[in-house]
Amino acid sequence: MSGPLQFVYILCAFLFILGLKLLSSPATARRGNQLSSLGMLLAVVVTLLGNELLSFQWIAVGMVAGAIIGALAARLVAMTSMPELVALFNGFGGLASLLVAWFEYQSHPDLITFTATTVFVSVLIGGVTFTGSLVAWGKLSGRLSGRPILFPGQHPLNALAIVALLVGGMMFALEPAANEQVFHAILGMTALLGILLVIPIGGADMPVVISLLNSYSGLAACATGFVIQNTVLIVTGSLVGASGIILTRIMCKAMNRSLSNVLFSGFGSTSSGGQGGTETREAKSVTAGDAYVMLEAARSVVFVPGYGLAVAQAQHAARELGDLLEANGAEVRYGIHPVAGRMPGHMNVLLAEANVPYDQLSEMDAINPTMDTVDVCVVIGANDVVNPAALTEESSPIYGMPIIEAHRARTVIIMKRSLGVGFAGIGNDLFYKDNSRMLFGDAKASLQALVAEFKDA
């Protein structure tokens, strides 16, 4: 590729960087994403113009098909299904890089060792990303059980698969042309490894898995960039790698668990039973009518949404109630925990969809200091992120995780279907506090009942 066109790659990289920079504020984020996509378009155009390609026919077929499918998926998916869609896209990206590496080998089987090694690395990361992301997608969308699948001999089996892959990779890298069979075996093994590595991880940990796989694909892009001396790949790969690593770290920190605990411990395998059975205390239950009386008198209300809001698709009902409370003279804020829901920022996206202005969405650190002055805190389908055990009980598995301190509000109304546990599978003292009231039922139904009370009044 000629010099001037290479300079365009600098511009592309700069647009990606600028896009990330503008993502630092909701007001500019959309423009940033558009600039980033402009950078991608430029990179594609430069690649098409700057290389002497044999035929554009298959390129056209692939791009048209991909654009239609991608656009439809992006437009049609429900906001609550965002985590699984990202997982699916991530898988496709992984498969694409596997195919590119495979093509490289297919067209020049006698690769030098260095190139063969990177072909192997691309296939490995791409394949694991592909099947791993598919499993993640299945677990997130409910097509597969979210429960960790554990079986005896699992760790030795995984270790065996990895060793076999490394041996195969070595054989392939040394003599690629003679080892076509080995290459095909590698293809199969990486696909298997992706499945094996992800099935023992609980459904709610899938966002961590996706972030991690995404960061690996960034690192793979970097490696490829060094091989084909393509700067834009190196830069993009570093950005994606950094983003994946930072998001993974944020999630682990907010759950107060180490990465290896997430990946290998089978966390969540006991979650459905929980300690609920041995509970002898009584939680105070209220009706929507009682809750209405409390809310009607409140001057300051904080909503704390959690995973249950997403399950019940209750974001619009929550917004409606919030608007009514504001009309009634109360100050209404939404307290968002960084890992509420099932992916980072999940609640923000849902509430934004329901038209809640982002200046009403407060981060945990902003809401906690003011909690003592809150009249009513309405917990909507959240559990672990408001569990006071994280602050007080050293033996609790979530001890040390920062929480939204709902229990410090004058009154707490908790909307969920039962006294059951959340993702971490542990009981929650909050339900039994003197100032707590349970409003049992589906979150959307409960919110709609409250909205009706307000409208009737």
Partner: protein
Amino acid sequence: MSAETAVLLTFIFMLAVVAGFELIAKVPSTLHTPLMSGSNAISGITLVGALLAAGSAGDDTLAIVLGTLAVTLATINVVGGYLVTDRMLDMFRKKKEREEDS
């Protein structure tokens, strides 16, 4: 690859990592879902490699299939990723903006 080029590429890598960490650490938690889908879209840069593959496939059927499939999947990743991110970001409105809209 000459030693000089290797040095320069390593330099670029080091600086890109620094810039990446600084920029992404500044993204507020409100925008972490769009960040995830957006950086996923960027990682679709493999599309560049896929284009080179599909454009030089020749007559080998397997090569054509591999190249075309790679372009399709990478395009899904890029187009879908950017559009879905755009759709999410479009929903983030300030109170004022929201009132102007309605």
